[in-house]
């Protein structure tokens, strides 16, 4: 579809135990650009190729996890229409005033059935990607670390998978791209508001509001291998990879920020159009669906989360 509703993941606000350590991780190692600090002490960052002011907000707190994930919608008219649709669906809505996050307009906050806070907003100030809009260069100079291109998606865990999938597909217009099923039971759902393999993904697991990972796009497999080098050079807590997922085909590596929130950097995943078939992985091939080469499930990757 031409994107007329929800456009993309706009930002994720993460709780970290030590702000300085977290900023070093996200700015110097992932290579996000620090663009702002607010009066509450929160730090705002963005991937180099993102145009808006920020896509990651770090908030120091006494526990790790995701505060909320926000999506940008086309315009204000869309925001108020979706707010009404969310209310009709039965969501409790909270309006967050413009400026609660600096450089961001009013946000519509709701809790998904899996227990996660999500938000929609229509406006964020323009920052630019460091490249001219006339006769643009292919990339800006002076990038650091893994040179993350953009905040790409989050994968989250919760019990009421059906509820969140229904909300995102029926109310917010997301499309199911891939899934894992065990017979009739859906275990995982990958959803997009655009043409990406996923903009958000849900996995069924007991509990509510858990973050599995926040993911950042790289350009090439070579960049993923270079990220692996940086992970070792900087003694970053490794999870697994470099490897390939069956789901989404992404070439990937996983690691943890200094507070234990999992990050992914990846490249080269698949894409969809509105007429693309849903891709299904069966539970007997779960290992291959997740790690295409080893075909073995990994307890840490599957079981470790942050948040409630």
């Amino acid at each position: 579809m031409a994107m007329t509703g929800v456009l993309r993941p706009g930002h994720v606000q993460l709780r970290v135990l030590d702000l300085d350590e977290a900023v070093t991780h996200y700015r110097d190692y992932l290579g996000l650009l620090e663009t702002h600090r607010d009066s509450q002490g929160r730090v705002y960052l963005k991937g180099w190729d993102e145009q808006d002011w920020f896509s990651v907000v770090l908030r120091e707190a006494d526990e790790a996890g995701m505060d909320h994930m926000a999506f940008k919608v086309l315009d204000e008219e869309t925001l108020w229409r979706l707010q009404a649709d969310l209310k009709k669906f039965g969501c409790q809505i909270e309006r967050i005033a413009a400026g609660e996050l600096d450089h961001c307009g009013e946000r519509v906050r709701f809790t998904a059935p899996t227990g996660h806070l999500f938000e929609l907003y229509a406006h964020k100030d323009h920052y630019g990607n460091g490249i001219a809009t006339t006769n643009p260069a292919p990339w800006p100079e002076g990038l650091k670390g893994m040179q993350a291109v953009r905040f790409d998606h989050c994968l989250v865990y919760g019990e009421d998978l059906e509820g969140s999938v229904k909300l995102f597909t029926e109310v917010l217009g997301f499309q199911l791209t891939e899934q894992i099923v065990d017979g009739d039971l859906q275990l995982a759902a990958f959803l997009t508001c655009s043409t990406k393999a996923h903009d958000v993904a849900f996995i069924r697991q007991e509990g509510k509001g858990k973050l599995h990972h926040a993911s950042f796009l790289l350009k090439t497999w070579e960049n993923v291998l270079r990220a692996a080098d940086i992970i070792s050079m900087k003694d970053i807590s490794i999870d697994i990879g470099p490897t390939r997922h069956g789901l989404t085909r992404g070439q990937t590596i996983y690691f943890f920020d200094p507070s234990g929130n999992r990050n992914e950097v990846f490249c080269d995943d698949s894409y969809v159009y509105p007429d693309s078939p849903v891709l299904t992985w069966t539970a007997d091939r779960l290992g291959q669906a997740i790690f295409y080469h080893s075909r073995e499930l990994n307890d840490r990757f599957m079981g470790v989360t942050t948040g409630a």
Binding site: L17, D62, R204, S237, A283, D299, V304
Partner: protein, 105 residues
């Protein structure tokens, strides 16, 4: 500063040597030893929860979702955020969950 301390896991009786600059978890991992489950290594996920039964130690900040103030006061801590200041005897409390998606064993 380069003191080495003995960490004994009371559950198995196994022990390993851990530097004062290392965490109880990292000391174990660096020697290729097992016994404490390894999660995020950042104090956030709670998988490496242990109880210090005997010994002195220092801790960095740990997620309150997993270690309450009462826990911390009675020596229940995360191995990834705990550095030994003497020989330690510890009991392993945390573990990785095996069944991860409902419907799968």
């Amino acid at each position: 500063m380069s003191g080495q301390y003995k960490v004994t896991l009371l559950d198995s009786g196994e022990s390993y040597s851990c530097g004062a600059e290392s965490t109880v978890l990292k000391g174990m991992e660096q020697l290729g030893r097992k016994g404490i489950a390894v999660g995020c290594r950042g104090g956030g996920c709670g998988i490496c929860k242990i109880e210090i039964v005997r010994g002195d130690y220092g801790c960095q900040r740990m997620s309150r979702a997993h270690i309450s103030e009462e826990d911390e006061a009675r020596g229940v801590v995360l191995a990834c955020r705990t550095r030994p200041r003497s020989d330690l005897e510890v009991r392993v409390l945390g573990k990785l969950q095996r069944a991860v998606m409902r419907g799968l064993g």
